[in-house]
Each structure stands twice: as structure tokens, then as C-alpha cells.
């Protein structure tokens, strides 16, 4: 049994967790960071990289950026939070430059800081976190949170999966959750570590969620892989299996039309033939990991038509997550803070996906605020007896974790269920998912030692799916990522939706004045 004590425990070592650890250590806290995988390679930022919402400190430019993006958010974002994110991100990227991140210099000799290449960015973040005196525990997935007698988050416990599944416990004054979103093990580039574990652990302590209906984020990938880097698709022409051009009125809005064809069971092919030859090298330099899997498969995307598919990214590039209750990214549970994709991103991106801009910026800024907030709360706090909370998927039982995962995926992955939503379809899925949840809690999931993680993650995905679809049924309109039948956006739904509960999930409208 591994036992440690800290002022702040950070769960998750993607960008949000790394920035949280730095901020907490900077505020004088003793910090432990535990990751399911490896801090520095784990999560979609590390593998995929981030274009950032990065606006230099020019008051006019920032005001315009916020105003424009607020409208794009389908009016569910919050302008004050948007401004905070722009400001914090800019300053933290300055830090990154000071840490020595090798930014590109453009043809005019100007350093370009709006894009971060994943492996380089996260390798440097790890080094910095390490040098700040933070104890990093790799391959130490958390399975449960600890709460003291007053219900305050006081640490976590889990398993060391490269030490035969040995149990660990970290007692802490405060906890930052930075465990990412949930992409339902779809395989989308770098997301298989993101199974919604943090949402489940927080809900078990009574935290609520917001924006879970904005979870139908899908992205295009070459069919042979799951490399969902979308930026270069601005140069794509789409074709049928017979080689006929698919007519899209707006090449940038082609995704939905392609999705409709794929949902109808048709094959779709792409070719980057709108790219001027003089840009080919720059495209490769910008998004090397879009081209690498094509090159390896012997496909020249500028010349060859290659089959594409849509891969679910759930609440990773979708928006919903734990509701935050204050500027320090506190959750409804005292002592528990949320950063990055595990928190709702509605405050910045509203009803739309934030991929390609806000997500990385949100991870940096919310991580910084949560780390600082947790340090203030947790430093030197006395902790009366803490106990592990939560049980779903943890008791020994009969259900097979892989079978549970397949059952959840059967409801969440299909385009005609999750992207093109209907009330009948959502109700049918919820009926199956509710039965599944009941079985998970009554029969338990099989798995001992390191396999306990698979069991717990399967339960977390089931909980996540139920929140997504409950919220989707409650929003009887279409807005942003949420498309329900052919319903239009309705003024009476211009507010956020809060969700929660495990055995008895609920949804409610967020009262305007309660908006964080």
C-alpha cells in the first residue's frame, strides 16, 4: 500500500492538470499529481497538439474576439469568463516561452505563439512540473475520491497499474480533477485515456454537471485509423465510392453533409485537391500527425482519394462537464476543483465544440485557476477522518467490463443515434443504459488488480452516457452541437442545463442568476 500526504492532489496530467500543478506549487502548496497514463504523453493534447484561442493584449481586438465568439457560442457562453480566458492564456503562454518552448518564427520574423505541437509542449510541461517539486505518479489511475466527515474532498485512492495493481492513497487538503472528457473509447487520436472517471468520482460526492447535451462531437478521420485532425479538411473535396464529386455548397460546412451520407451507410472519400501546391509542405509542417498515418499507409492525400469515417470525441471536443461554481473553478463539492475537459466549457464555448481554439486555452486557464484555488483551500487544512467514496464498478462482480463498454458504445457511437438525435432514439438508448446501470450496481463488475481500472472506467462511461442523453432529451430544440430532429433553436432555451445524480439522474434549467 502506497500512502502519501499533500496539500493539493491533482488527478490527471494533461495540460489542465500540468498547469494546475504548476499553479498550486507556485502558491506554496505541496503537490502530488497522479495520472492514469504518463504525464507528458497522455491525452489528446500530447498526441495531437493544440491551436489556441490566443489574442494579444489589444483591448479592441480582444473585445471584438469575445463578441464574435459569443455569438458563435449560440449565446450560452459568458463574456466575462471569455475575457478571463483570453487574458490568462496569453500570460501563461508567455511562461511557456520562458520555459523555452521552441515557437516558430514566421516569414516576417515574428514569433507565432498560437499553436502548440503536442509532444514538445507536454514534454516541456512535465519537465517544469517536475522541477517545481511536484511528485508525479505515472500509471497511477485514481478510482475513488476520499471525503472527510463534512463531505469535503480530502484525497483519492487508486491502483499502481505497473506495480501489479498495488493500492495507493493520497491524503490531501484539496483535490483538482483534470481527468479529461469522455470519448467512450472510440479510439479518436489520444483519447482512450479519457473515459469520464473524474465525472463519476465527483458525482459520487454530489457534484453536478452542465452542458452534457453538447456531447455529440464527431470528427473526420481517414477510415483506416482514428486520426481526427480536422484543420486540413479545409482543402478537401469529397467523393462517392464511384468517384463522383459530392456537391457541397460550402466546403467548410461539409462535415454535416458527409455525416449524413455516412449515417445512411454510404462510403465517402476525400482528397486534399483544393490545396495549392505551394502550401503542401507548410501543411505537413503544421499538422505532421495528420500526414504521418497517411504516408505510412502509402496514401498521397493530394493525389489519392482516401476513405473517411467519423469518430466520436464525446465531451473531449464536446463541451459538457462538471459545473463550476466560482472563478477558482470550484465545484459543488467543497475542496474539489475541476479543470480542462472534465469541467464544463460552456462558459467559454457555449453550445459549440471548442476544438481548434478554446479547449487548449480553457485547459491552460482553468488549470491555473483551479490549482491556485485548491492551494488556497488545501494548504494546512486539518482533515478529520477521510473515507473513500463511490462504489460503481468497484465491487467484485459478474459483469464483464468489455461487454459493458460495448453496450455503452452501441448507444453512443452511431451517428444516427448521437449526432442526428431523435426523441424516440434517445428514449430507447436511455432505457437500455438505465438497465445497464442497474446491473452494474447490483451485479458488480469483474476485475481484480490492474483490471479494476477497466471495470471502473466501464462504469464511468455508462454514467456519462446517461447524463448526455438525459440532458439531450431535456433540451427540446437544436443548438450548437445538439441536434434534435429538425427543431430550431428556441429563445426559451437560451440557458444552460444542469444534470446530476447516479441511480436517479435529474436535469434542471440553470437559473440565470446562478450562472457562474
Amino acid at each position: 500500500m502506497i500512502e502519501l500526504d499533500a496539500d493539493v492532489l491533482v488527478l490527471g496530467g494533461g495540460p489542465a492538470g500540468a498547469w494546475a500543478a504548476l499553479a498550486a506549487a507556485g502558491a506554496g502548496a505541496r503537490v502530488v499529481l497522479a495520472d492514469k497514463g504518463y504525464c507528458g504523453t497522455s491525452g489528446p493534447t500530447a498526441s495531437g497538439g493544440n491551436n489556441l484561442w490566443y489574442v494579444p493584449p489589444d483591448a479592441g481586438a480582444r473585445e471584438r474576439a469575445v463578441a464574435e465568439r459569443f455569438e458563435q457560442s449560440a449565446r450560452l457562453a459568458d463574456r466575462r469568463w471569455m475575457s478571463r480566458v483570453v487574458d490568462e492564456t496569453y500570460r501563461r503562454v508567455d511562461d511557456l516561452a520562458a520555459f523555452g518552448y521552441p515557437f516558430a518564427i514566421d516569414d516576417d520574423g515574428v514569433e507565432r505563439r498560437g499553436s502548440l505541437q503536442g509532444p514538445e509542449y507536454m514534454k516541456r510541461m512535465r519537465r517544469r512540473v517536475h522541477r517545481s517539486g511536484v511528485t508525479i505518479l505515472d500509471h497511477h489511475p485514481a478510482l475513488r475520491l476520499l471525503a472527510d466527515d463534512a463531505g469535503t474532498a480530502s484525497g483519492a485512492s487508486g491502483i499502481a497499474r505497473q506495480k501489479g495493481g498495488e493500492a495507493w492513497t493520497v491524503h490531501a487538503g484539496a483535490v483538482v480533477l483534470a481527468t479529461g472528457g469522455c470519448a467512450f473509447l472510440s479510439g479518436a487520436f489520444g483519447t482512450n485515456v479519457d473515459t469520464g472517471d473524474g465525472h463519476l468520482m465527483a458525482a459520487e460526492l454530489g457534484a453536478d454537471l452542465s452542458g452534457m447535451e453538447f456531447s455529440a462531437a464527431y470528427a473526420l478521420s481517414p477510415a483506416h485509423g482514428a486520426h481526427t485532425k480536422g484543420l486540413m479538411m479545409q482543402f478537401a473535396t469529397y467523393y462517392t465510392a464511384g468517384g463522383e464529386r459530392i456537391d457541397v455548397p460550402d466546403p467548410l460546412g461539409a462535415r454535416l453533409q458527409v455525416a449524413e451520407l455516412l449515417a445512411a451507410g454510404r462510403k465517402v472519400f476525400a482528397r486534399l485537391d483544393r490545396a495549392p501546391a505551394e502550401l503542401h509542405q507548410a501543411m505537413r509542417d503544421a499538422q505532421p500527425n495528420y500526414f504521418l498515418p497517411l504516408d505510412k499507409a502509402g496514401i498521397d492525400p493530394f493525389r489519392d482519394r482516401y476513405e473517411v469515417r467519423m469518430v466520436l470525441e464525446g465531451t473531449v471536443r464536446g463541451t459538457g462537464g462538471l459545473r463550476v461554481t466560482g472563478d477558482d473553478c470550484a465545484t459543488a463539492v467543497p475542496g474539489l476543483y475541476a479543470a480542462g475537459d472534465v469541467a464544463t466549457r460552456e462558459l467559454v464555448s457555449g453550445a459549440v465544440s471548442g476544438g481548434g481554439a478554446y479547449n487548449g486555452a480553457w485547459a491552460i486557464s482553468s488549470g491555473t485557476w483551479a490549482g491556485r484555488g485548491a492551494a488556497l483551500f488545501g494548504k494546512g487544512r486539518r482533515r478529520p477522518r477521510a473515507r473513500a467514496a463511490g462504489s460503481a464498478g468497484l465491487g467484485p462482480g459478474r459483469l464483464d467490463a468489455a461487454a459493458v463498454v460495448r453496450a455503452v458504445q452501441a448507444e453512443m457511437l452511431p451517428l444516427d443515434r448521437n449526432l442526428f438525435r431523435t426523441r424516440a432514439g434517445l428514449r430507447a438508448s436511455l432505457a437500455s443504459l438505465d438497465v445497464l446501470w442497474e446491473r452494474i450496481t447490483s451485479e458488480g463488475l469483474a476485475g481484480t488488480g490492474r483490471e479494476r481500472l477497466r471495470a471502473r472506467s466501464a462504469a464511468a462511461m455508462a454514467a456519462h452516457a446517461r447524463w448526455c442523453y438525459r440532458a439531450a432529451l431535456a433540451r427540446e430544440e437544436s443548438r450548437g452541437l445538439h441536434r434534435l430532429e429538425d427543431l430550431p433553436a428556441l429563445p426559451r432555451f437560451e440557458h444552460r442545463l444542469v444534470t446530476g445524480g447516479l441511480d436517479d439522474p435529474w436535469t434542471a434549467a440553470e437559473p440565470r442568476e446562478a450562472a457562474a
Binding site: Y38, T41, E120, V193, Q234, L252, A286, L292, K296
Partner: protein
């Protein structure tokens, strides 16, 4: 998915075992990393970038390569090992790939492109 560990190139440093986010490798009895859980591989190429001796080959497919595929044949792959590490620009004498980043051209282009409603 990860397909090949080259016994000739590997120096048994355990780096890939450490950095794989989904814990695909185990240390084999011979000291070489063994692909113990290929089904968990998410084709993220991270091990290929971090291996100091270009001893790993990750095939581009999200499922296992079929038996007899050139993607599992070390001899046929010779030049393909460590491709991602070269692109990322890690290893002695290389320039970080981020220096050549040109994303601003493409995000700018998207932002200013005329859109049909």
C-alpha cells in the same frame, strides 16, 4: 497500432513502457519490451517519438495489421522506424519540429474564409 519492436535496435531502456499512455508494453523475460496488450494501443505514435534508438514501428491502422502484412515485417520496414521522432525533431543534431510550425496560415485562412450561410 504498435506492430514491431526491433530486438536489434532496442537498448532495453524501458522508456516505451513508461511513456505509453495506455500501458501496452510489459518488460519481457529477455529484457525487451513485449507488446502485451496490443488491443489497448490507440495509435498515438508517442512511443515511436520517445524511443531513443528508433526501435519501434507503429502501423497507421486502428486495428492490428493482417498476418503477413509488410507493416509487421522488420526487414521490409527498415527505413520506417522512428519516423515520428524524426518529424518531432528529437534526437541529437535535430531541430524541434515546432520551429517549422505553420498552423497560423491555416487557422487564419479558416477564420477569414467566406462562408455560405
Amino acid at each position: 497500432m504498435i506492430e514491431v519492436v526491433s530486438a536489434d535496435r532496442c537498448v532495453q531502456c524501458d522508456v516505451c513502457i513508461k511513456v505509453c499512455p495506455t500501458d501496452v508494453f510489459d518488460r519481457g523475460p529477455d529484457g525487451l519490451p513485449a507488446i502485451a496488450r496490443q488491443g489497448d494501443c490507440q495509435t498515438c505514435f508517442m512511443c515511436e517519438a520517445h524511443c531513443p534508438t528508433d526501435a519501434l514501428y507503429v502501423a497507421p491502422f486502428s486495428g492490428p495489421a493482417p498476418a503477413g502484412s509488410p507493416h509487421t515485417d522488420e526487414a521490409a520496414l527498415a527505413g520506417a522506424f522512428g519516423e515520428y521522432r524524426r518529424i518531432v525533431g528529437w534526437g541529437r543534431g535535430r531541430t524541434p519540429g515546432s520551429r517549422a510550425d505553420r498552423n497560423h496560415i491555416f487557422t487564419e485562412r479558416l477564420r477569414t474564409a467566406p462562408r455560405n450561410p
